[in-house]
Amino acid sequence: MKEYINTGNIDTRSGFGAGLTELGKKNPNVVALCADLTGSLKMDEFKANHPERFFQVGIAEANMMGMAAGLTIGGKIPFTGTFANFSTGRVYDQIRQSIAYSGKNVKICASHAGLTLGEDGATHQILEDIGLMKMLPGMTVINPCDYNQTKAATIAIAEHEGPVYLRFGRPSVPNFTSEDTPFEIGKAIKLQEGSDVTIIATGHLVWEALEAAKKLKENGVSAEVINIHTIKPLDKEAIINSVSKTGCVVTAEEHNFLGGLGESVARTLALSKPTPQEFVATNDTFGESGTPAQLMEKYGLNAEAIVTKAKKVIARK
């Protein structure tokens, strides 16, 4: 299998911005709404190119979600942009009733997800958003891992009919998937073959999973690394196939263990193939101020944490 190398650090939100810019040029029905965070969401270029299709709603996220639902009735494909916290928890009922239950084709695009928002602290670092969104019937939930994948996901969700939650982040992180990797909603990507343990990761933790696999290899452990970018619908087949070979699994995500990817994997395995599993995730806690790297270390969301959990789960086989 190919070895993934970091071609340069860049933020995933810029991948969203680039994807949206491309969509704006090729699909006249794509419109964008933003709640006073145009620069933070990297939506400036779309706004400059298509001012008539860009809706600045101010600091009023509830109205933004309702407006997005209304725009779909006129045949538009609305992309809403704000931080993950304000894209989900703040407007849960608006999403639930006007978008999800009403079956509206709205793309909820959420930046600054998780701890890696950094210094702003816990008021802005949502670690519950995947759970909130995956519980909504009909909602697709996507957490891409790097710039290229976020750009590809942004473009792909415009073609998908139905509500989507797209989660990405603020910090510069390794860009390691190739530009031409096809993005298929609901399809896991096997990044590395292995036989001793399966590491299933999403978002910023995917690069950490690859780093962990290198360290494990130095210790004679062969890790299989699977990138789950679509948490719902989940690629159950890819998960079951891999753990059938390795017999144990570590899930890794920048999210609370309650409600996250790990729980979805655990349910899949409990129903089809009960398997020892360890969770790299936050432990039912809020975040705090700090640099992204400091926070990921303190809360156990990096390559070292994955290595530790991998050794632990292998011992449980």
């Binding site: 509830a62 009735i73 006129g74 009403s102 509206k104």
Partner: protein
């Protein structure tokens, strides 16, 4: 039209009585408005689709008055009148609060959790501008519903962005579940508040008089396209048409029993349209 108003009132009463639940008060108070809207105001295209085909759109924000919506839709040909028998029953398209989930013609968005309809209406109105469609977007919300903050986000947005192809009607009956709006959470001077937000506001003082509603809605329509969103304060009486349900919040969300139904129906006698 008068006959249809009476028949819709009979339908409302019979729907909520049959399942011993639902919201007759606001439904009865808005009957003249719904009949006027669907019979005379809205320019729609049939068959109904959720997607806008270049037509007037209507959104009900205060979804709990579903009985009046369902009856008016059925009596306007959106679905068979007999289907009113299924109101609030298992497997029905006529859910307690309106939804698109089961494909009921006439409903484009779910409502029930309050305060969301104006935002949806604004979005669809903005889509119309992008589509160069000159039809209008109408929505109805309750007055108590204006206690929800999202409405004020929406009011601010619509004025600030000159969404002037939109008419928001407020059912101004001054009652909500727990009592009068003045007792529960005073709305203050609604007209001045909404005008201060930058809207063109007009009152329909006799919201239970067909002529007044007809003229008022025509006036509202004439004020669109002039750079401001339009708001109609529709002064109604909750429970209108049934004497013991009027001027009280008691029948906001309570169904009549057999005896009460009989009295209520006697005040709204059978019409040539026939009960479902």
């Amino acid at each position: 039209m008068e006959e249809l108003v009476t028949q819709v009132r009979r339908d409302i009463l019979r729907q909520v009585h049959a399942v011993n639940s639902g919201h007759p008060g606001g439904s009865l108070g808005c009957t003249e408005f719904f009949v006027t809207l669907f019979q005379e105001v809205l320019q729609t295209k049939q068959p109904f689709t959720v997607e806008d085909k270049g037509e007037d759109l209507f959104f009900l924000s205060n979804g709990h008055i579903s009985p009046v919506l369902y009856s008016t839709l059925a009596r306007s040909g959106y679905f068979p009148v007999e289907e009113l028998k299924t109101f609030r029953l298992l497997n029905s398209r006529l859910q307690g609060h309106p939804t698109t989930h089961d494909g009921l013609p006439g409903v484009r968005v779910a409502s029930g959790s309050l305060g969301q309809g104006i935002s949806v209406a604004i979005g669809s109105a903005q889509a119309k501008k992008l589509n160069k469609d000159t039809h209008l977007v109408y929505t109805l919300c309750g007055d108590g519903e204006l206690q929800e903050g999202q409405n004020w986000e929406a009011l601010m947005y619509a004025a600030g962005n000159k969404v002037d192809n939109l008419i928001v009607t407020v059912d101004y009956n001054k009652q909500q579940i727990d009592g009068s709006t003045d007792d529960v959470l005073p709305l203050g001077n609604l007209r001045e508040k909404i005008e201060a937000f930058g809207w063109d506001v007009l009152d329909i003082e006799e919201g239970n008089d067909l002529d007044a509603v007809r003229k008022g809605m025509a006036e509202a329509k004439s004020r669109t396209g002039k750079g401001k969103p339009v708001c109609v304060l529709l002064h109604t009486v909750m429970g209108h048409g049934v004497d013991f349900m009027m001027h009280t919040h008691a029948w906001h969300g309570k169904a009549p029993n057999d005896e009460q139904l009989e009295i209520a129906l006697s005040q709204n006698p059978e019409t040539s349209l026939g009960d479902y």
